[in-house]
Amino acid sequence: MNPLRRFLRTPEAVAGVVLLGALIAMALIAPLLFPGDPQAIAGPALLPPFNDWSLPLGTDRLGRDVLAELFHGARTSLAVGLAAAAAALAIGSVVGTLAGFAGGLVDEVLMRITDAFQTVPSFLLALAFVSVVGPSLGVVVAAIALGTWTGPARIARAEVLSIRERDYVASARAIGMHPLEIAFREVLPNALPPVLAMSSVIVAAAILTEAALSFLGLGDPNRVTWGGMIAEGRAVLRTAPFLSIVPGIALVLTVLGVYLTGEGIVETTAVRRGLS
């Protein structure tokens, strides 16, 4: 059976794609549907949901349109999640390839550095990094990548160790290719599949970390974030709990969509992975 049909026959995978597709659509049409600043005041403060059809999900403590914020928040979540995961995968595969291919002292030093990064709780590291450098979208992405590249690095290294002795690597050596060229043109591409199989877990973790950082007030102050919305709603948790609950549901559905899609892809391409 072809992989696409097998993928579409798993109900979980289809649910994942639908959720993820909805999120991407929200992120893409946000500026069309809600042009202008989503952080601007749109109506009376604390309007309950389903009361006014121009403000379907009501307004928050400052009178901002909750639905507009939700749509614009999807952009931040998705952008940070994808960018941080891409950075983590890139750093991880380069470090892992270098360590596995070079061996010896280089391997030892790189792996001890990896150990050190895994010893420090990644969320605390992100917290310290953002608070020292200052919150902006790029800094948040870097902070998250700083704590997540270690997993891909370990997997890439293990894969490189098994690839490095193969015949095509030996023949590349025989024709006098530069070791770095062998490492990045021959070995790295072949070590990538198991590393890429981790991407859904990493994207999901990045989205959750971004939300937690903005919940603690360390997100980019010029952008709407779901974590920031939850923190905003916390002040009126007793009287208007939906302000915190709605963006949280969006977060859960997004992360679940990422997991289910990733799991579906991994299962249909039959790549083995740690968490499944």
Binding site: A128, A204, L237
Partner: protein, 328 residues
């Protein structure tokens, strides 16, 4: 016994290098932070340019970077983490005061996620592919997608605000002079919600690992042999399949400890638990970088110790490990 000792020695030597890298990293972050200890001191007490110059010299801040790193290491060797400007007290004392609460939270949450997670994993993995297996694995995935701080807020709305069953936050009732068992019970009641918020998320991880390990074990020859011997299904599941799937979960306990510490930052903030995580958030809010980095160092040491304990436990539980480690 000697095998375990060799293992401990090897790990300790490795840990020293790892700790040196972590210390250098925190030092670099400290250097990158805008303003130094003198600036922070002057802001809180006031003083002129001459005073700043004098303090910089007295605290050794006018020396080269390498000398300062050496001084920093020397101070750490004497367990001196420096002075917290926000608390006007040694950072070490502030951290030691908060550490027990975080440890209590972590140990309880780990017990919840590990105990319930592996039990549900055995229940699901006992009949691979059944309805309950599919239900539990999807359900746990959904749980794993929930942010801890949000779960905490939802628990507060339901159990503290609406039902009024449990306290909304804190570690114990204020201004209560309870002692002994009454105080322990009071703390336990306060811990129910934060422990649930932290523990339920990681439960999914243990459930899924247990399930995957059992699926693997079902295919092994010894399970076939046990079946051929006519053992009951219950006995095969518990004594053979689950038992073999349990060991990797123990390794996970150590690896998870760093994640758990990170997760406790937001959960402690939501429930106002005066622990290390909330201290980290306070340090960020008051721009007390030395305090924040002190917390990171203590967390790293904690993670190293937990992993060491897990390794030792593992060496005793699985005789093969000690042998291969000692030979390597």
């Amino acid at each position: 016994m000697t095998r375990a000792l060799t293992l401990i020695r090897r790990r300790l030597v490795g840990s020293v290098f790892v700790l040196l890298i972590v210390i250098t990293g925190t030092f670099l972050l400290l250097e990158a932070a805008p303003g130094d200890a003198v600036d922070a001191y002057i802001v809180s007490t006031g003083g002129d340019a001459g005073m700043i110059e004098l303090l910089r010299h007295r605290w050794g801040l006018d020396q080269s970077e390498l000398t300062r790193l050496a001084n920093y290491l020397w101070a750490l060797l004497h367990l001196d983490l420096g002075q917290s400007v926000t608390f006007s007290r040694p950072i070490r004392d502030v951290i030691l005061e908060r550490l027990p609460n975080t440890l209590l939270l972590m140990v309880s949450a780990t017990a919840l996620s590990f105990g319930l997670g592996s039990a549900l994993g055995i229940y699901a993995g006992a009949r691979p592919g059944s309805f309950r297996d599919r239900f539990l694995s999807i359900g746990s995935l959904a749980l794993y997608a929930v942010p801890g701080f949000w779960l905490g807020l939802v628990l507060i709305v339901v159990f503290a605000v609406d039902l009024r069953w449990l306290p909304i936050g804190g570690i114990e009732s204020l201004a209560s002079d309870k002692t002994g068992l009454a105080r322990a019970a009071d703390i336990a009641v306060h811990l129910v919600l934060p422990v649930s918020a932290l523990g339920f998320i990681y439960l999914a991880l243990y459930l899924r690992m247990m399930r995957a390990g059992m699926a693997e074990a079902w295919r092994q020859d010894f399970v076939l042999a046990a079946r051929a011997r006519g053992l009951s299904r219950r006995r095969i599941v518990l004594a053979h399949v689950a038992r073999n799937a349990l060991l990797p979960l123990i390794t996970m306990l150590g690896l998870q400890s760093a994640q758990m510490l990170g997760g406790s930052v937001v959960v402690e903030s939501v429930f106002s638990v005066p622990g290390l995580g909330r201290l980290a958030q306070e340090a960020v809010a008051s721009r007390d970088t030395p305090l924040l980095l002190g917390i990171i160092l203590v967390s790293a040491v904690l993670v190293i110790v937990i992993n060491l304990l897990v390794d030792i436990a593992y060496a005793f539980l699985d005789p093969r490990v000690g042998a291969s480690e000692a030979g390597a």
